[in-house]
Symmetry: C2
């Protein structure tokens, strides 16, 4: 049995787990992300949660390495995190060096010789976790979509991450579904994120529901100023027609992009994760209804849209999986 | 030196070449496609051009096999051609069996033991030819776009075809760039083919130019009823502003889809082939101007859009390459 540490660095929380090579999380820890305090404070916090979970390993058992899922783009060699969104003040941070100098002597001794510290985009680690220990397990190839603050994505092809020329593949949220559509913060017109990103979706819901009869007027304030996606989902689950329509609108938009991906890649399985995916079939059914209409008829069979049933656990698992995969590749090379 | 036969089966012509494993076409042949006469007549014609080019091989030299690029979808095992567009009456045709029974005794003896007969989608073989002997040679990974009657595409990743779950990957022409856009024949709203397919583009040009001052009114009839893309291109090259605008319009649309592909795959090189690509920079410059606007800023560096300078020659070369690759894979396995 080998052990690795997986870390999920988010804009609000840092989560870590000591993970066995069968995917079992032996010990977990989490802390708030001191994002506003800048990179040094965040790196301190990452090192702290790593120290905590490292203590869960059986005595004398070395740690195979550390994987860290990060927002934004990561260099192809998995060392450098580049200007992650929601983490002000970060430019290029070389993660292995920045973390190692913060580790205790005990942890340094615990790490196996040449134990790697690997960074990877957060949607990519979620996909890897899903492929090995989550909803993606039965599928050789699938697309992961993470619906959270932004819209992320990743491609698993033959059980490996498809990374592209610089490791940046999978940026589904920036694909345009309407070349004259609304602008996302990336400056791309009609980018998926301009419909399904947290803020965009909340704002759309607020404006659309202002003049509609919906139970949300009772709970979210007269101008719906307190509307959030959790209350929207709750209303939809309670049968609120207007709230349901919002999810239909969002699912339709996502289906357009996913249909295009089926045409391009002939990969027909989608695993939807991230906070917004907790809406479940209220969101997934409209996606399913929409995709087929944007796919060449010959490719419409067998399209499958699933929610990541392991939730965010796949992120730390996938981050640890980076380490095991690195070791397997080195042994095979 | 090994020899294989490559065939390019089109709706109007069948082309074949005897190709050496360095890509050199030793002998070529072509004939009209008797499409209206149905599959049996077309298969007869394919067998005939194969017989012709086979005679170009040096005495005693066995043929490594035959590759055939076909319109539409081909089974994952590369045996069966399924309802190709522009070839009425075809349903599922098992190409190796259908061709072998038409071969002369001399050709059968010429074919090496276990020499394969392999079918593959036409855009895929063009991409393979481009990757090994065309404009794609310097690039490890690139996207091929074929602009002809329809809009085809293929993905070369690490010098191999990316084929997807059933071998159908690369159907760029059916990706939507506007979920409320015009319908292509596939029933997909805003599909790229509904803008850039031969008939759609010609019709758009006709309507757009009807009320515009353009030299095409002199050559294409009062109602522009004889307008075609060749005269349109000629007018654009002569500096006709209205004709140039048509290509700008088309290039912009293609750029939207290609930008989305950069976001998804982090592959930034595009090779544009097919008849319409002969328009060259009149079309390519607007594509280049458009792509960047539909890509996440971090991925905008190094985007390259090239015309396939070998023209259609890459199709028969790529079809022959299927055979050499098959042999290499078998030797490596």
């Amino acid at each position: 049995m080998r052990y690795a540490i997986g870390v999920d660095l988010g804009g609000t929380h840092i989560k870590a787990a000591l993970v066995r090579d069968d995917g079992h999380a032996v010990k977990t820890a989490r802390t708030d992300t001191p994002a506003a305090a800048g990179p040094q404070a965040v790196l301190d916090s990452i090192a702290q949660v790593i120290e905590q979970v490292a203590q869960g390993a059986p005595d004398g058992e070395p740690l195979a390495g550390i994987g860290v899922g990060c927002p934004g783009s990561v260099s192809l060699d998995r060392t450098t995190v580049r200007s992650p969104p929601n983490l002000p003040g970060w430019k290029d941070v070389v993660l292995p060096d920045s973390l190692r100098l913060r580790f205790s002597e005990a942890l340094r001794q615990r790490l196996a010789r040449d134990a790697p510290i690997l960074a990877e985009n957060d949607a990519n680690v979620a996909a890897l976790g899903s492929a090995f220990w989550g909803t993606g397990q039965p599928y050789d190839s699938f697309i992961m979509v993470t619906l959270g603050t932004g819209v992320g994505g990743a491609i698993i092809h033959h059980n490996r991450l498809f990374r592209g020329a610089t490791g940046a593949a999978g940026e589904i949220g920036h694909m345009s579904i309407d070349y004259e559509g609304p602008y996302a913060r990336s400056g791309v017109a009609g980018a998926l994120e301009a419909y399904l990103g947290h803020r965009f979706l909340t704002r759309h819901a607020r404006y659309q529901l202002l003049t509609r009869p919906t139970c949300l007027h009772q709970t979210a304030g007269t101008d719906l100023e307190h509307l959030d996606l959790i209350s929207l989902h709750r209303a939809a689950m309670a049968g609120d027609g207007a709230a349901i329509e919002i999810f239909q609108w969002a699912g339709h938009k996502l289906g357009v992009a996913l249909g295009g991906i089926v045409n391009l890649l002939d990969i027909r399985t989608f695993v939807i994760g991230g906070g917004v995916s907790q809406a479940g079939d209220v969101l997934l059914d409209p996606i399913r209804a929409s995709i087929g209409r944007f796919v060449l008829p010959a490719l419409r069979d067998g399209i499958t849209v699933l929610r990541e049933e392991s939730g965010n656990a796949v992120a730390v698992q996938g981050a640890a999986r980076l380490v095991f995969e690195h070791a397997e590749d080195a042994a095979g090379a």
